[in-house]
Amino acid sequence: MSSSTELTEKKVFLLKSLDGVIFEVEESVAVQLEVIRELIEGDCARPFISLYNVTSEILALVIEYCKHHAETCSGGTSATIADEDLKTFDNEFMNVDENILLELCSAADYLDIKSLFELTCRTLASLIKDRTIIEVRKMFNVENDFSVVEEKAVRKEFAWAFK
């Protein structure tokens, strides 16, 4: 209990990923993770918080995202500049492999970070939008279970969509 109080006073929390890597985060960053905010408010942030669904690779990215957002919001810059800065950062941040994007989306959902969840979903949706059917299947490893005849029938139904 004493260590917990000490940590709260220092406003630093320890997050343990699925593969056992411990990350140290400041309170301003930690509270962006709704799950952890609840734990902090409930005074349950024990020596460290175990996150069983997030690997260290993804957690590092999530923390980077939250850190940047926390710093920009509290940086004292004007709202418009901060918005621009966040937009640029988000665009660059989303410039990762699709699998990482899916993992990030899943982690954002688990950790309840609304802005990151929205960002990853939007990015994935725009990736789907810009790709052909075959590329979409390949991207998400979805198996094409239509037979040739069935596929032809669906194409015919929506003939104008595939010009």
Binding site: L102, C105, S106, D109, F117, C121, R122, L124, A125, I128, K129, T132, I133, V136, R137, F140, N141, V142, E143, N144, D145, F146, E150, E151, V154, R155, E157, F158, W160, A161, F162
Partner: protein, 271 residues
């Protein structure tokens, strides 16, 4: 951990004879201890009780059970049954390795103009996009993208439909209007239930006034027929109130004066 095989079997069977129950227990204990599997509790009545009466009783107790031809207790029977059940019940995921709600969270953010492309990815996606769930979700989250439908007539007098996407400023042709309606004049049009474009009444140059009602469903991308109007009419007035279509007045071939009747169509009651 799985429940103890004995207690499970006992609970499922409720067998009347104590000795026979013991026999089952013995067999099951041996089986489970030897193979470490849950004992089949569906196909083992005959071993226990060869009297038809009890088997019938047991069948009542466990629906779907049947008489075994071979009275062996098959440890795999139950497993097979459950896997068959799962195959019909559990659908493949929308995105392999991820829960469906995450996949849906991504898919609802794909613009509507791209939806027809998504239908071809796999059967599961096709079903999702042909159903109401995705679109109700988009609507409740304020993501619905409205289309403007335009019905036009070409030089030959044939009507065809187009949809215009306001966000992406793109025109999309609708499938051809059914033949019996394709030359109609003075018909009415309205959108009901959010996704059905209705064309009703009107006058065919050859057949005269019509009571015919058709609608285009944005979900299926097809034209469907709806029950006809009570009266044949064309050049009438119409409006939608509370998702009910009101049709009023107009003309009917063969009748000199304008019609003074009105009728209402409710898409949910389909009448």
């Amino acid at each position: 951990m799985a429940p103890h095989p004995e207690s499970e079997a006992e609970a499922r069977h409720g067998l009347p004879c104590k000795d026979k129950r013991l026999e089952v227990r013995r067999q099951k204990t041996t089986l489970s201890s030897r193979q470490g599997l849950k004992v089949d509790s569906v196909s083992c009545y005959c071993k226990v009780d060869s009297g038809l009466k009890t088997v019938v009783g047991a069948r009542k107790f466990v629906p779907g059970s049947k008489l075994c031809i071979q009275p062996d207790i098959s440890p795999h029977a139950r497993k097979r049954k459950s896997s068959r059940g799962e195959r019909t019940r559990v659908q493949p995921p929308l995105l392999p390795g991820f829960p469906d709600y995450l996949a849906i969270a991504c898919l609802i953010r794909v613009p509507r103009v791209e939806h027809n492309k998504l239908r071809l990815v796999c059967k599961r996606w096709y079903k999702l996009l042909a159903g109401n769930f995705l679109y109700s979700l988009r609507k409740s989250l304020g993501m619905a993208e409205e289309w403007v439908y335009v019905i036009k007539r070409d030089r030959d007098g044939r009507i065809s439909g187009h949809a215009f996407d306001l966000t992406y400023r793109m025109w999309q042709p609708l499938p051809p209007v059914p033949v019996e309606y394709s030359s109609a004049l003075g018909f009415g049009s309205a959108v009901l239930s959010g996704c059905h474009l209705y064309l009703f009444g009107g006058k065919d140059p050859l057949k005269g006034s019509m009571r015919c009602v058709i609608f285009y469903s944005a979900r299926t991308n097809k034209w469907h027929r709806a029950p006809g109007m009570i009266r044949k009419r064309h050049f009438f007035g119409s409006c939608v109130i509370n998702n009910c279509l009101y049709v009023d007045g107009g003309e009917c071939e063969g009748i000199q004066r304008t019609l003074s009747s009105a009728e209402v169509y409710g898409p949910l009651r389909n009448c």
